[in-house]
Symmetry: C2
C-alpha cells in the first residue's frame, strides 16, 4: 500500500469470530504476482443475504451476477468470492464467462448451487479477469478456512486503499449478544484506477432476508450513500450483508421490532464507521469534513444540498487551503437546485455562526473559525430556512495529492 | 491580470461601432484604487433587451434588479452599468440600497426611468458595494462616451480573467448588414473569488424584445449553458442582449423568419465564441475539451450525460495527465443517471474508436490517440446506444494550477 493517509485510524480493530462465517485470503496472481488478492468465505446453511449496488447504468458483471442471485437464490447465501486486481467491468462476453466460471467453482467447493454464491471484483476495468487463476486458487483457500484474520481479509479486497478497513459492534437481541463485523475498501469513487467501494457485513443474528434487506438499504442510505470523495461513482459499488442465524435468540420478524432496536443502532454504527474510514482514506484527503443541512423542504432536499456543498470543487479546495470561505458555501447551496431562502440562510463553521439572515454576521469572531479550519475534522452546518428537512453527508478536501494520484499516466 | 492562459487567443478582435450604442470605462476605486472597474453604456431610444440569468436560488442583488426591469420596463433598455470588484451578493438590505442608488444615478444621467436601466456586479461577495464611488464616477464616464474601445470595456468587467474576451460577426437581414458585438468575462463559475460569468451582446438590428428573448434563451442554452469549468455555478451569472434597432432593415417579426436566419446563425457564433473563450481561460486550464454525446434518449439526456463526463474530476484529471482513460468515461456515463446501453456503448477519442459494443476495440491503434491527448484541443465522442438525442458541451482539464488558484488563503 502507498503512504498511509494522515487521517487513518491508529490500528485495525480487534474483530472476534462470527459464528457461521469461515473465510480465507490468498494470492491468486490476478494482476501482480504474490499480492494477496482473493477472499473466499463460506456461510452456514440458512444464512440470509441482502445487497445494495451501484446506481450506475454501466454496472460491472459481478454486480449483475449478485442482483440475479439475490432474486434466484431467495435471499440465502452459502459462499462469497471477492477478488482485487481486476474489476470485470466493461468486459463483454468474456467477462460474463469469467464470472460464471468463478461462481461455478465456488459453488462446487461450498456444496451449493450457483444462486447462493456471491461474487465481487475490483481493479482495472476493460480487461476480462483471469478466471483460471481464481479457480485454481480457490481450493487452497477452502483448505485454509478460518474465522479470525479479518485484517488479512480487508487487505485482500483492497486496491489503492492506504489502510485496511474494518469495524465491529456487539449488539443484543432479546438479551442474547450477537456480533456485527464489517470490512470494506475504497478511497475514491473510481473505476479504472481501482477505486470501487466494496463493503461486507457479517453477523450471527437470526434475521430473515427481507428484514435484512430493509435494514441494509436504510442504513446504507445514511452511510455509504452519504459519503463522497469526488462525486464520481464506480461501476462496481457493492454492499452485501450476511446473517448466519447461529445466535440463539428468537427470529426477528420485522425491522421495527422493539427487541431489534439495539441491533439496528449498532448495525448503523458499523456501516457509518466503515463509510467514514473510506473518506479518511479519500484520495489526497487531509481533512475529514461533515456537512449538515437543516431547514430544507425535506430530507431528500437536505441531502441534495449537502452533497452540492460536499462535491463543490471550490468548497473542497477552500477547505484544503484552510479558508473558512462561507461565500463558496452560499454558491453551492444556490446551485443545489433545491428550495432555499437566501434571506434566511445561516452558516455555522466549527460551531461559530458566520452568516445569518442572508448576510455575514457583522463582526463575527474569525479567530476560532480560523483555528477550526486548521484542524483535521471540519464541521459545516447550514440552515436553508424553508422547512424541517435534515441530512448529514461526509467528504474530504480536494488537494494537490488528488491531482497527483489521478492525473498521472495510466501505466 | 495574472499570467495569461496558454489557451488564450492571439489578440482581442477588431470590433466596429454598433449604431445606437455608446459606452465608456473608468476607474471608480471599487476594490483597488486605479483599476478600471466600471463600464457604462447608453442605448438609443427603442432599444430591445433580453436577459438570461443564473439558476441559483441565491441570486445576487443585481440579478434581482435585472429580472424586475425586464418585466417592468417591457423589454426596453436605455442604460447599462457593470462594475467589477464587488458582486453585491449576499449583502442584505445594504446591497439593495446600493444597487438602487446606482440605477437611480444612471437613470438620471441617461434621462430615462429606472426600469430601463440594467446593472451587473462581479467580485467579492458578502460586502455591500461602495455605491457612492460608483455614482461619483458615472458622470465622468457619461462625459467620455464613445463607440470603439471594446477591449477596455471587456477589461473593465473582468476579475480573475487572464485575457479580455470579445467577439464580433456581421450578419445580413434582408440584405442589410448588421453588427453583432459581444464581450464577456469569466474563468471559473466562482462566487467569492470573483469568477462570475457575465456576457453582453450588442446589435443594431431591429428585433422586438420577445424575439430577442427567444433568440437569446435558445442560443445561451447551446453556448454559455453548455460550458463547465468546475460544475460550480455563480450567484451572479448574467447574459444580456441589446438590439438598438438602428439598422435600416424591416423589423423581424418572429425568430423563425427566413430573412432572420443568417442573423440567428451569426448570433449563435458570437455566443459560442465567447463561451469558448471562457473555457480557454478556465482556472488552471491547459486543454480545451469538447464532449459530444449521441444516441441518447433525447437532447436533454444527451446534455446531462455530456456534462457528467465534462464535470467528472476523474475524467478531467486524466485529460490533464494526457491519459486516454476511456474507463473513466464509461464510469461518468454510468453515473449520469440517464438511459444508456452498456453493451452498445461506443467511445471515440481524437477520431479513433477505442470502445464499441460495450468492450474495448481489440488492438485499437493507441499511438494516434496518445498523440491527440498531447495536443491542446481534446475531442471526445460517446454514443450511448439508446436513441437519437445529441449534445455537445465544452470544458477544460483539472490541473494543479486549479488547486493553486482556489486553495490559497482568501486574503
Amino acid at each position: 500500500m502507498a503512504k498511509i493517509s494522515p487521517l487513518a485510524p491508529a490500528s485495525f480493530p480487534t474483530i472476534p469470530p462470527v459464528a457461521g462465517v469461515r473465510f480465507a485470503s490468498g494470492a491468486a496472481g490476478i494482476r501482480y504476482p504474490g499480492r494477496v488478492d482473493l477472499f473466499y468465505a463460506e456461510f452456514a446453511e440458512g444464512t440470509s443475504v441482502a445487497g445494495v449496488f451501484t446506481r450506475s447504468s454501466m454496472p460491472s458483471v459481478p454486480v449483475d451476477f449478485c442482483r440475479t442471485a439475490l432474486t434466484a437464490g431467495s435471499g440465502h447465501a452459502r459462499a462469497l468470492v471477492v477478488n482485487s486486481g481486476n474489476a470485470n467491468a466493461f468486459t463483454g462476453k468474456a467477462g460474463i464467462a469469467a464470472a460464471r466460471a468463478t461462481v461455478q467453482s465456488a459453488a462446487k467447493l461450498a456444496g451449493t448451487d450457483i444462486n447462493h454464491v456471491y461474487v465481487s471484483s475490483t481493479g482495472v476495468i476493460g480487461e476480462p479477469p483471469p478466471a483460471e487463476r481464481i479457480t485454481a486458487a480457490l481450493p487452497t483457500l477452502k483448505a485454509t478456512l478460518g474465522n479470525s484474520d479479518w485484517e488479512a481479509a480487508a487487505r485482500a479486497i483492497s486496491t489503492t486503499d492506504t489502510f485496511p478497513k474494518g469495524s465491529v459492534r456487539i449488539a443484543k437481541i432479546g438479551g442474547v449478544p450477537v456480533t456485527i463485523a464489517g470490512i470494506c475498501k475504497g478511497s475514491g469513487m473510481i473505476a479504472p484506477n481501482m477505486g470501487t467501494m466494496l463493503g461486507y457485513i457479517f453477523t450471527d443474528a437470526k434475521i430473515p432476508p427481507a428484514v435484512l434487506q430493509n435494514l441494509l438499504s436504510r442504513s446504507t442510505e445514511k452511510s455509504f450513500n452519504s459519503i463522497t470523495v469526488d462525486s464520481d461513482a464506480s461501476t462496481s459499488d457493492t454492499v452485501l450483508a450476511f446473517a448466519t442465524g447461529q445466535a440463539e435468540h428468537q427470529w426477528v420478524a420485522a425491522a421495527g421490532d422493539a427487541h431489534f432496536r439495539d441491533f439496528r443502532k449498532k448495525f448503523d454504527e458499523v456501516l457509518l464507521d466503515l463509510a467514514h474510514q473510506i473518506i479518511k482514506d479519500g484520495e489526497g484527503a487531509s481533512k475529514f469534513v461533515s456537512v449538515t443541512v437543516t431547514g430544507a423542504a425535506g430530507s431528500g432536499a437536505a441531502k441534495k444540498i449537502a452533497l452540492a456543498i460536499a462535491n463543490s470543487p471550490l468548497v473542497k479546495t477552500a477547505i484544503a487551503g484552510e479558508d473558512a470561505n462561507w461565500g463558496r458555501i452560499v454558491m453551492a447551496v444556490g446551485k443545489g437546485g433545491e428550495k432555499a431562502d437566501r434571506d434566511k440562510l445561516a452558516i455555522v463553521i466549527g460551531g461559530v455562526k458566520v452568516a445569518a439572515d442572508g448576510e455575514v454576521v457583522p463582526g463575527y469572531d474569525e479567530a476560532p473559525v480560523a483555528a477550526h479550519m486548521k484542524g483535521s475534522d471540519i464541521v459545516i452546518e447550514v440552515d436553508v430556512g424553508v422547512g424541517s428537512g435534515k441530512a448529514t453527508v461526509w467528504t474530504c478536501d480536494l488537494t494537490h495529492e488528488y491531482i497527483n494520484i489521478n492525473g498521472d499516466y495510466r501505466s
